[in-house]
């Protein structure tokens, strides 16, 4: 398994170009290629969970001269999240995208996006991270505007401009880091920055990275693209964007750089916690008054990412006790995995509803649980999970984060977390009342259940919500402990330079 590590990026890249070549012959080949490739990737990523950490030198160039691929607990966890949700989204889109005409091009762009995200997560070289970040971002800009109507084009253009400025800021930070240390290898950078310490230049670099990666992660001053881009994309792309892309490109890179390369610092920790807190509040408050199904889900994404950011900020504080730091980090990582599962479930359900009824407006929907029972039940499970009701998985992750905040002595942030959890419950109950229960309008009395290929991912994700909630201890032992300890241990990351 160790020698096949670069195949996580090579296989989707080859599949994307092979897809366009073979689609000149027949249009249905792209479905099978996408299904096969994402299936293989999902199986490979689950196998990676059980391996010991290792490094891989591409082309047999020894570090620090060559490009390094690093596999530790955090990368394995992110790989499982990305590839499993990609597989389910591909199954969903085989039926959903039949109304669009250019289906092979859609699957090609989808494969490119997966290749980019996998590359960001497995690499150990700073500029390689930037290249894969750009591959995934450009593929997602094109996918947001895929159905070329007025709203999709405007949303895609706004997303493109803001994302372009963020990538420029990231490249600026990488240029500064190279001029200070003379190397681009991430473990080598960690060693050199340990010697240099926290000067004003390093502080400027951190500010640039927070701006660039914070925009990809939709933290609050940089969130303006998300409520326009996520509703306008086709439903499986919304699930991928909101469920996986903002985590793999935004939260993962912030965690990797702040914990493993730059190290813990008081001021940076306070800033990240403040950004997380205002993300929670503003995302939650703006979600209450929405009339569009997907726009409400998009604002709720901003709010939940605030939870993860505040947990990361608490774990980054050098003066926190080790118990509080590891508790906060485990809570944050678990909330990341949970949010991937239930937010993609909700977006796929909104796609199924739109496929059958043709509308996303909450005023025109109602009483769908009688006509679409399986979709309705899955939506109900997703809403209860995200609101934090036991025994689903959202309850455990929010509880751990709020407990860690109170134990660390942050009474204000803890109370804010509890209040925002209550606001989340309010608008998701409102969503359920508008969509599932209530009176069925006259125009919708003839709809049927969604097709099987669209209902299957919903059922799988809903079962996963329940299983992760009840079997929380097994997940913690297998995935989260190794991920959290890989982040908190900067010495082990620096030793990857020597090998192993």
């Amino acid at each position: 398994m160790q020698t096949y590590y670069p195949l996580f990026t090579a296989i989707p890249l080859a599949a994307a170009f092979l897809n366009l070549l073979l689609s000149k012959i027949s249009m249905k080949v792209s479905d099978y290629i996408a299904f096969l490739v994402t299936g293989i990737l999902a199986v490979m990523s689950v196998k990676m969970l059980f391996e010991a950490p290792f490094i891989y030198a591409v082309g047999n160039w020894r570090p620090p001269f060559g490009i390094l691929l690093v596999s530790d607990g955090l990368s394995s966890m992110m790989l499982v999240v990305i590839n499993l949700i990609a597989f389910l989204a591909v199954i969903f889109s085989m039926k959903y995208m039949s109304t669009y005409t250019a289906k092979p091009k859609y699957f090609s762009l989808f494969m490119l996006m997966i290749a980019g995200m996998n590359g960001v997560v497995i690499t150990g070289d700073m500029f390689n991270l930037y290249v894969f970040l750009e591959i995934a971002s450009i593929a997602s800009y094109a996918l947001v505007g895929f159905g070329t109507g007025k709203k999709e084009l405007e949303a895609s253009f706004k997303y493109l401009i803001l994302g372009g400025v963020a990538s420029t800021a990231v490249l600026f930070g990488i240029a500064f880091l190279y001029s200070m240390t003379g190397t681009l290898n991430m473990p080598d950078l960690a060693q050199q920055l340990e010697v240099i310490g926290m000067t004003r230049t390093v502080g400027f670099v951190v500010a640039l990275f927070l701006m660039g990666f914070g925009l990809k992660a939709s933290a609050v001053p940089f969130h303006a693209w998300l409520p326009d881009a996520h509703p306008s994309a086709p439903a499986p792309i919304s699930a991928m964007l909101s469920g996986v892309l903002i985590k793999a490109l935004g939260i993962y890179t912030i965690m990797r750089i702040m914990f493993n390369i730059i190290g813990k610092d008081e001021l940076i920790s306070a800033i990240i916690m403040f950004l997380g807190a205002i993300s929670m509040v503003i995302g939650g408050l703006l979600a209450v008054g929405q009339k569009d199904f997907k726009r409400m889900l998009a604002y709720s994404s901003i709010s939940q990412m605030g939870y993860v950011l505040i947990a990361i900020g608490l774990a980054l504080k050098p003066s926190a006790e080790p118990v509080v730091a590891s508790l906060a980090l485990i809570g944050g990582l678990f909330h990341l995995v949970n949010h991937a599962v239930f937010k993609s479930l909700l977006f796929l359900a909104s796609g199924a509803v739109e496929y059958r009824t043709g509308t996303r407006d909450l005023g025109k929907l109602g009483g769908l649980i009688k006509k679409m029972p399986v979709t309705g039940a899955a939506t109900a499970v997703g809403s209860l999970s995200i609101a934090g009701i036991p025994p689903f998985n959202g309850f455990w992750s929010k509880l751990i984060i709020i407990l860690a905040l109170f134990r660390g002595g942050y009474w204000v942030y803890g109370t804010v977390g509890v209040v925002v959890g209550f606001i989340t419950l309010i608008y998701f109950v409102m969503l359920q009342k508008e969509v599932l229960f209530g009176k069925l309008p006259e125009s919708l009395s003839k709809i049927k259940e969604a097709p099987f290929a669209m209902v299957l991912p919903l059922v799988i994700l809903a079962v996963l919500c329940l299983v992760m909630g009840i079997g929380y201890m097994a997940i913690e032992g297998q995935m989260l402990d190794s991920a959290a300890s890989a982040l908190l241990d900067k010495m082990a990351y620096m030793n990857y330079l020597i090998g192993g």
């Binding site: 020698t3 670069p6 195949l7 090579a10 890249l13 080859a14 170009f17 092979l18 366009l20 070549l21 000149k24 030198a57 591409v58 082309g59 047999n60 250019a102």
Partner: protein, 165 residues
Amino acid sequence: MDRLEQEIKDTSKGMTPIVKTVVRFVIGIIVIFGVYIVLYGHVTPGGGFAGGVILASAYVLLTLAFGKEMGLSKMSNTGASLLDNSGALMFVIIGLLGYTGGYFFYNFLGKGDPFQLFSAGSIPLANIAIGVKVTASVFAIFMALSIFGRFIYKAAEGDESESEE
């Protein structure tokens, strides 16, 4: 020869006959220069991307001087798409063939002496693949934005637009 002279004297598409005659001479030199930069990419500065852009600019010059039918007859839309994808696929296959040496992207062919054309292992092959891909890509972008973008002007005048992909 007769058809070519007719093409040159035809002033309804493309530019004046002076431009067309000069372009006939110059285009061969541009293509040879582009191929030289792609092939010698491991000895002198340049490589796949720079050589590919020069080759694409030869096609663009042809289209600007002679009109869009001449440009499309040399490389059609599906031809550009095929060249593009096969170039990228060749690059990934060269990377995967490195597994015969044990590592991804390993330089598995013989290295030879420095400063020669046939040296440096699999780097010239990768340069050729990238050169083919970039030529087809830049030419396809130029075609899609200018020739197939004529529906914009029709839409602006209020006519019904025929949308091309």
